[in-house]
Symmetry: C2
Subunit: 457 residues, 2 copies
């Protein structure tokens, strides 16, 4: 098909939308290492996991051989409310850069949660409902995942209990109110509602909380309450499975127009978006049917791929969750306070970690002022105001497009635009006022944090 016929935005028809999620692990020769029980250091069994997660999600978490999971009709109906998301040809950005590269982005921000997080939230809520549960618990930092989960729970009539890091609860009240609009109960963490919360408050009376503490509170409430389970928005295999809808839609849209990407770029925090975007393309590569370059982009202030260690580590700061083998900076690592966007998780999805370890994927880290600069450049020509997380991918997509300008190569670049930055204007303000700073942790700082890694044979 002629290049000229490619529209600004490719929307699939409803009957072209994926009916199956794709489980990339099924096609991996080196499977990601299993989760370990933190007490016994033995692989977590389905039974052990089912106290924390819904049964169906435990199955998905542990299954590394089934390639396709049917997307239940109820979830597909919900997807239809905000999907397919558009695959956009960045004609205006290309023109601005005067690059021969062809740039595409898959935009996941056109829903109220403002990001791709909803793709997995609705799946997790559905399985909770199907199991007859009353509700779910989770933690949230700035509130993107909490918002997505609130929307999903509201749709299925489930209780949703969100522990929100206290400093965000107080200083970023807008996402809190979005969650309340969807009927969620939002509690500032640490709280007096849990044992772990009370303990922390006793020890640190003035604390403004942390994600690690909020996770521990959410898990405690889930485990102790009849009819509740805990849910998580990134890192886990099940989350990457649900997020494969991003890559599947992208690939179908590109195949339809005969487009083959040379480079696929995504931002990486816990890996939910990157894993979802690359899944079907990586599957092709693993089977030897096609080749692509994959680039994970992480913040220089939280560089788990590029400066972390591939080892078993705790998934939470509170060390109550299972151990995962992953690229990690140590579960005690905290990105510098002047780090503005998300992508602040100390570790990385086990699946992506394995792929990176096996040389199937590249990773780069970028500094935040260059990220906001790319975000602003992008917004001014493409219209969309990107989330700081998403702008990490934009930054590297622009870099790659500029390399094409030098070499004259007409490469095709695909990147994931995970969401919008409407609730990140404080960070944009800092950038506009020249008050934003970059921060690169020292080798000593990372070594110190890595020294706390658990010892696993």
């Amino acid at each position: 098909m002629s290049e000229l016929k490619i529209p600004y935005k490719i929307y699939l028809e409803e009957n072209e939308m994926p009916k199956y999620w794709y489980n990339l692990r099924a096609d991996m020769k080196n499977k990601p290492a299993p989760l370990l029980n933190p007490a016994t250091l033995k692989p977590m069994t389905a039974e052990e996991l089912s106290g924390v997660f819904c049964d169906e999600l435990v199955k998905q978490e542990l299954d590394d051989s089934t390639a396709l999971f049917e997307i239940p009709e109820e979830i597909r109906n919900f997807y239809r409310m905000y999907r397919p998301s558009p695959l956009v040809r960045a004609y205006c950005l290309e023109e601005k850069l005067k690059t021969p590269a062809k740039i595409y982005y898959k935009f996941e921000g056109n829903n109220t949660s403002g990001s791709h997080k909803l793709n997995s939230a609705i799946a997790q809520a559905y399985y909770a409902k199907k199991q007859g549960l009353k509700g779910v618990t989770t933690e949230t930092g700035a509130g993107q995942w909490g918002t997505a989960l609130s929307m999903a729970c509201s749709y299925f009539g489930l209780d949703c209990k969100v522990f929100m890091v206290k400093v965000s609860y107080e200083q970023k009240p807008f996402r809190r109110e979005v969650m309340r609009t969807y009927g969620a109960q939002v509690t500032p963490s640490p709280s007096t509602e849990t044992e772990v919360g009370r303990k922390i408050l006793e020890k640190h009376p003035g604390t403004t909380g942390s994600l690690g503490c909020a996770i521990s509170e959410a898990v405690e409430v889930a485990v102790k309450s009849e009819g509740y389970r805990y849910v998580l928005g990134s890192v886990l295999n099940q989350v990457l499975l649900h997020q494969s809808v991003i890559g599947l839609e992208s690939k179908t849209a590109m195949d339809k127009y005969g487009i083959k990407p040379d480079i696929i770029i995504g931002c990486a925090g816990g890996g939910s978006n990157l894993g979802g975007l690359i899944s079907p393309f990586m599957g092709e590569k693993l089977k030897g049917n096609a080749d692509y370059r994959f680039i994970a982009v992480e913040p220089a202030s939280c560089p788990s791929f590029t400066r972390g260690k591939f080892a078993y580590d705790f998934c939470d700061t509170g060390m109550v969750c299972p151990l995962a083998k992953m690229y990690t900076l140590g579960s005690g690592f905290m990105p510098s306070a002047n780090h503005a966007g998300g992508l602040r998780y100390h570790g990385m999805s086990s699946t992506l970690s394995q792929l990176y370890h096996d040389g199937l994927m590249e990773a780069v880290s970028v500094e935040q002022t260059s990220v906001f600069d790319a975000a602003e450049k992008f917004a001014r020509v493409e219209g969309i105001l990107p989330a700081p997380e998403s702008a990490h991918a934009i930054k590297v997509a622009i870099d790659e497009a500029m390399k094409c300008k030098e070499t004259g190569e007409e490469k095709t670049i695909l990147f994931g635009l995970t969401g919008t930055g409407y609730f990140d204007m404080v960070a944009y303000e800092k950038f506009h006022d020249g008050k934003m700073q970059d921060y690169i942790p020292s080798d000593a700082e990372i070594a110190e944090s890595l020294s706390g890694l658990p010892t696993v044979e």
Copy 2:
């Protein structure tokens, strides 16, 4: 085509998108009354208007006989970045309400300005650029229009100078930062940059500003600066012309699937969205080719259609702009401070005013707690978090759907969902906390405000 085949969201193909705007006035028997020069009380000439507005926009403003205006290719290219907007079948809302009614909404919130305002902003920026101007000036309250204009100016490389009501500038900094991201210069109004601003500051040193004052400052700067013109986001005929793209897309999408709406509902402040949505349908009605019920929904706290007077009035509080014949509450009318959403303009588009006066359209007013209640109900099933403005239409769409439930009629309802409420979470918070109050101005209050109407033969 079978009912079952109607997807959740109808997206037109790019080649189905409108190539012409539709000028409803061409098909009106009773034309809207002309703008009057405030000094002479004679109709404004093109020459007089061209000191304030771009030449091409003056032509569009005054032309009430040309039915179709070609949309320039540059504007269509920009439209392609965020249009077509989806026409959504509200299957989930219908199910929740258990109504036999079929509910559709045209969603204009999927762009960074968060509303339909961008449709006219890009057109006005284009004509300014084409005329070789350096830039444009405007005023903004909470910032929706200012954001749209900033995006449009950034795309065409035009200066954009926005006078933002001081209280919003200080208390609602997020939209201000969005504007800055797109390169706009945002000044809190009243400012010391203009004569009128200095005069007001001298008289009321602590004032936090008003829209009327911001308009006066923006007009002053436009008129006094070489290469600048003033632009406005609502009320004017040219704005309704550009916004007809909403109705044209809606009608094409509905025709494609053989859907004929019985009732068309839109919120009404200055009339930009309502006028745009109904234009092609009203055109059919005027030509006797079809019949539809049209319902304008306004806030009970600012009820220009339902309690105002059809008369010539000033368009701005500062009384520097031309007079327009419209339904008005008097240019000195200020909605109560506890009014949360937009739709706070004292008057109404002359075109819509004439149609309402001629009995071609209905109007209702609704109280804000019922509006937020409808907004929340809608968000929980349809996912989208609506702007308070848009929720006025939702409220009445639900009311009409519930009437169908009583009578068993399977009416088809179309309403305009103009935008998202991400920057309105303070109002949602008030609603959640039970602190939102309703306010209905007394007859005496309205009579007092109307007593200031200018005397025009």
